[in-house]
């Protein structure tokens, strides 16, 4: 579990950096994206999303999609940030 809760801004910043890192590791360019961008528009595939969730789990020791949130509800960067924010704030 979390040692000290990250702020909302830190959550968003960490997720944005992790998205960029996953894309770069796959040799993709990182397009500019805001929080309303669809995840698919950033170039992330569903398996990239799995890698992203693993990376965020390493960082925060949580996986909101294991029980709390259906991944099908996450379409945008903002949805993803909200899922983590809500889960972290509920723990």
């Amino acid at each position: 579990m979390l040692n000290g809760k990250p702020t909302d801004g830190e959550i968003e910043q960490t997720i944005r950096l992790a998205i960029a890192d996953v894309l770069r590791r796959r040799g993709h360019e990182v397009p500019p994206f805001d929080e309303d961008a669809l995840l698919v528009e950033t170039g992330l595939t569903s398996l990239d999303l799995a890698a992203l969730i693993a990376r965020l789990e390493q960082r925060w020791k949580i996986d909101p999609f294991l029980e709390a949130v259906p991944i099908t509800e996450v379409r945008t960067v903002a949805d993803l940030c909200r899922a983590y924010r809500d889960f972290i704030n509920s723990t």
Partner: protein, 244 residues
């Protein structure tokens, strides 16, 4: 690169212990769990008290949270998981129309749900690490109909379907997924058969004998190894020819 990490469910006895022993011999570090300890576990912990290459913990497969905590502990210890062997299973046999609902639930929970949950908690980090291998221990009963094993057969056939679908899904992430379907081999499950049933099985088997757990474990090691690097989505039947 460090040693490959194999996580084996139900690796304290029987086929699971045979696979764990073979994995250790092949150079893997091995993490396994079961509800209670067994002579194989005690032997390994005596040899390796610091748990450098062998880690066991008591986990009940019904408990998804405990499965997750076990995987987290393995990742903490060795950095992740390279191979998952979904071996844990229970056999509740008997005429289906007379089977207790509790026995149906128990078989579905352990043979199917627990293995799917274990895979679910391992796969994200395998994708993140760039590859891995999943081996589901099925059964010839998933392939041929036999009286008295309907629920068990349903769970094993379910694992085979899971294998094929997951192989499609995870292939692009360099994760291979296969099933191994043992025939009848010397084990606690076969020990419950009558002499007459055993003789009938042996007569039906072209190789004229029951298998051994080590023979099944050898096939498991093959499917985990780079020698099987282009095999995914398949069910390998190891049954002395029983189903041919």
């Amino acid at each position: 690169m460090g040693d490959q990490v194999a996580l084996i469910s139900g690796g304290s006895r029987g086929l699971g212990a045979a696979i764990a022993r073979r994995c250790l011999r092949a150079g893997y570090v091995v993490a396994t769990f079961s509800r209670s300890t067994a002579p194989f576990v005690d032997e390994q912990r005596d040899k390796d008290p610091a748990g450098a290459r062998f880690y066991w913990a008591p986990v009940d497969g019904h408990d998804a949270g405990a499965l997750k905590r076990f995987v987290d502990a393995v990742s903490e210890r060795w950095g992740g998981v390279d191979a998952v062997v979904n071996n844990a299973a229970v056999g509740r046999f008997g005429a289906f129309p007379l089977m207790r609902l509790q026995d149906i639930d128990e078989t579905l929970q352990l043979n199917l749900r627990a293995n799917l949950v274990l895979t679910r908690v391992c796969v994200p980090s395998m994708v993140s690490r760039g590859g891995g291998c999943i081996l589901n221990i099925s059964s010839v009963n998933a392939i041929r109909g036999n009286a008295g094993v309907a629920t068990y057969s349903a769970t094993k056939a379910g694992l085979d379907g899971f294998t094929r679908a997951l192989a499609r899904e995870l292939g692009p992430s360099n994760i291979r997924v296969n099933s191994l379907a043992p025939g009848y081999f010397q084990s606690e499950m076969v020990a419950g058969l009558t002499d007459r049933q055993t003789r009938t099985l042996v007569r039906s088997t072209p190789l004229g004998r029951l298998g051994t757990a080590d023979e099944i474990a050898d096939a498991a090691i093959f499917l985990l190894s780079p020698a099987a690097g282009f095999i995914t989505g398949q069910t390998l039947v190891v049954d002395g020819g029983l189903t041919c």
